[in-house]
């Protein structure tokens, strides 16, 4: 008796579940494409809006939007690719363009870019599209394999109120500070103890320091590791000393206890690197006035530099609905209304140049110096070095024990010397993979 009712219950439940699986019957003529990405709830909400707009425009197509936590995205994507279930459209990181393109996973969109009625390639940031170009040997040139979700310049933000209180004036966009002036200002801004401590700056962008100083992780054609170059180690040591010697930046342990981002929001850090994606959060939660300033220049070279990043939309080569998938990618990347939504939510600088230079610049929301974002895109921003190589294992290695420099256990030179050979080995392995 118990047996039978248990069995019935099981079968009923199983039937329920199984029927749920086949409930995705679509009406004739309609088909579904899958789109996979990650994001905070705000981003996801914005995407849901944009997808709704897309479905309105293309009533025959339904979009199945799959979100995965960012940290698991790579794993998930790889398993899906391995079993021939690549999503039609998915987040494509610039560093994946080379391996994916040479393995035939992502579709070549160059024709689409030139012959579509959704956008005009001339009205899109050149550098944004270039992140997804690959000509078979060098990334950044050649066929287009992805459309940019956004281009994210990393700018230096500062807390105006803290500046005023300490009597510090932010530099003019055209006359940035030198490193020494930066440190002097940071020292003025650093005060207090314990829970009231205010730090002059968040940990400094290593890219900005290294590139400004004329150094880089790799040489120009990305075949040799150059971290032992004095220009590199000098910059690395300077960044570490901001905390170790000058005391204007939180220590490594403090940083891992409470990220500077939170400290900045609490008004306990005066300067910090931010991207356009932070705008929305700042508008909502920042209880102080803030603005952007130009990145400081290295006293050795008088140059400044910083990175820009981004994520793109790739279309699967195995997709059965390439046209629709490409349309979705283009829609999400360039559709005017979608871009406007993105901009108004404080998620990004528009991909469309005219919108960026007109509507965005004239909007009266913070920051006042939004041109800094545009300046970085057009002028002194660079693509991260590790996105140029077939894989970034060498970079991962560099970072794995970088903390020993931040804590002062090793000097920059000692550390660079200790990892140089292994990094080179990994880089060589990656190049070997690429040319296989």
């Amino acid at each position: 008796m118990k047996k039978r009712s248990a069995a019935v219950a099981v079968f009923a439940a199983a039937a329920l579940v199984l029927s749920g699986c086949s409930a995705a019957q679509t009406e004739s003529g309609e088909h579904t494409i899958t789109f996979m990405g990650w994001g905070s709830d705000t981003e996801i909400a914005v995407f849901n809006d944009m997808i709704a707009q897309y479905e309105d425009k293309y009533p025959d197509v339904k979009v199945d939007y799959i979100t995965v936590p960012a940290a698991d995205f790579q794993t998930k994507l790889q398993t899906m690719i391995a079993s021939n279930k690549t999503p039609d459209v998915f987040y494509l990181a610039p560093e994946n363009v080379m391996p994916f393109a040479s393995s035939g996973i992502i579709a070549d969109l160059s024709d689409y870019v030139d012959n579509n009625d959704l956008f005009d390639p001339a009205n899109v940031w050149q550098k944004a599209i270039d992140m997804y170009r690959y000509d078979g040997t060098t990334p950044g040139k050649g066929a287009v394999y992805g459309l940019p979700k956004d281009i994210g310049p990393f700018a230096l933000a500062y807390n105006k109120d803290l500046f005023d209180a300490a009597g510090v004036t932010a530099p003019d966009p055209e006359s940035p500070w030198t490193w020494d002036e930066f440190v002097a200002a940071a020292k003025k801004l650093t005060n207090g103890t314990g829970d009231d401590k205010v730090y002059g700056s968040a940990p400094y962008s290593l890219e900005s320091a290294v590139w400004s100083n004329g150094g880089d992780w790799l040489n120009a054609d990305h075949t040799k590791v150059t971290v032992t170059d004095p220009k590199f180690t000098e910059a690395l040591q300077w960044v570490a000393d901001l905390s170790l010697k000058e005391g204007v930046v939180p220590t490594s342990e403090e940083e891992s206890s409470l990220p500077s981002f939170q400290r900045f929001m609490d008004g306990k850090v005066a300067m910090m690197g931010v991207g356009p994606w932070n705008q929305g959060g700042f508008w909502a939660d920042a209880k102080f006035n803030w603005d952007l300033m130009p990145w400081p220049v290295s006293p050795a070279t008088g140059e400044r530099a910083v990175w820009y990043g981004g994520i793109g939309f790739g279309v699967a080569n195995s997709s059965k609905d390439k046209e629709d998938a490409s349309n979705l990618a283009a829609f999400l990347a360039f559709n005017e209304d979608a871009q406007r939504t993105n901009m108004e939510q404080g998620q990004a600088v528009p991909n469309l140049i005219d919108m960026a230079k007109n509507e965005y610049l004239t909007s009266d929301k913070a920051p006042a110096n939004k041109e800094e974002f545009i300046r970085i895109i057009e002028d002194y921003g660079r693509r991260a070095t590790q996105t140029y190589t077939y894989n970034s294992e060498w970079f991962g290695l560099f970072n794995s024990n970088l903390a020993s420099v931040w804590t002062g256990e090793q000097t920059a030179e000692e550390y660079a010397a200790s990892v140089q050979d292994e990094m080179q080995q990994m880089l060589d392995d990656g190049i070997a993979e690429q040319t296989k």
Partner: protein, 302 residues
């Protein structure tokens, strides 16, 4: 007379065989479909250089095996993995202790049992987030309490010297409850009669513990040790959630983490599978040795 008994015995034996096999069919199916087949794929893949992204593979013989055996990260992970065995004696000890206390009918028993179980029933994701917060260098409860008695707590999560210890502490904490439940179930199976007889003989509680309780618990302890070792050696989720890269200097990565990295991060599936095969054989070996040794000290009721 004899023929009839023989026939009946034969038919009974046949029935026994039938039912025996029938009863193990479900689990057998599970093992074949969801274990053996995938293992088959994995074993074959261990001898190739399967690239998931490209979809190519060539047979490269034992190359993968040489590669991980000469990889210093593998050996670091191996050391870390052995470290993960440390929780076992601790939670066994406390688990037995609390099971006995519970069995004795200590006041407040029911409540304690629920409390002891809390760590085990919580989602690992939430536990790790909570634990990370507890052991936060500046604001975590642990370091704040330590500061209160004048000790500067270490950087539990960042310092390579401490991260493993933090994970181990969390595992001990998590496993005490479930261990005590197992032991409690086993304790309840010890006939009270034995204790009565011993008491009549004038045995002290300590003597009774070592002469009756422990031996009667030995099957349960054996089980817990085997499962504990197999499980601890495969520690993975905690490492993955606590650190994003195996810890500074690879100080927390276990072998399973190494395998996962090779498979899903570096995309070297062949290498990952080869390492996994090797590791599985090691675990199998350890377990077989334990079985052999168990004949000496595990009591099996007839």
């Amino acid at each position: 007379m004899t023929t009839m008994t023989t026939r009946r015995t034969q038919s009974m034996r046949r029935r026994e065989r039938f039912w025996g096999l029938l009863f193990v069919t479900p689990i057998g199916l599970q093992v074949v479909l969801f274990c053996i087949v995938p293992i088959g794929i994995a074993v074959v893949a261990g001898f190739t250089n399967w690239n998931v992204i490209k979809g190519t593979y060539d047979f490269i013989g034992l190359d993968n095996f040489f590669e991980f055996l000469t990889d210093k990260y593998f050996w670091t992970a191996a050391g870390n993995t052995v470290f993960m065995l440390i929780p076992i004696p601790f939670y066994l000890f406390f688990g037995i202790l609390f099971a006995i206390g519970s069995h004795r009918g200590t006041p407040g028993n029911q409540v304690f049992r629920i409390l002891f179980f809390l760590p085990y029933i919580s989602s690992v994701v939430a536990l790790v987030v909570m634990w990370k917060w507890l052991f936060n260098y500046q604001y975590g409860l642990v370091n704040q309490l330590l500061a209160g008695i004048g000790i500067q707590g270490p950087d539990w999560l960042g310092d390579p010297a401490w991260i493993k210890t933090t994970i181990v502490i969390m595992i001990i904490w998590k496993m005490i409850g479930i261990t005590s439940i197992y032991v409690l179930a086993a304790l309840k199976n010890i006939p009270e009669v034995y204790y009565e007889a011993a008491r009549l003989d004038g045995a002290s509680p300590i003597r009774m513990f070592f002469q009756i309780t422990l031996p009667m618990l030995s099957p349960a302890i054996f089980f817990l040790t085997i499962v504990g070792i197999i499980g601890s050696l495969q520690t993975f989720v905690e490492v993955q959630l606590f650190t994003s890269d195996g810890g500074r200097n690879y100080s927390a990565a276990t072998i399973t983490y190494y395998i996962w990295q090779k498979a899903f991060v570096s995309n070297e599936l062949g290498l990952a599978f080869a390492t996994a095969i090797f590791f599985a054989l090691v675990i199998l070996g350890v377990t077989l040795i334990q079985f052999r040794m168990s004949r000496r000290w595990v009591y099996e009721g007839e």
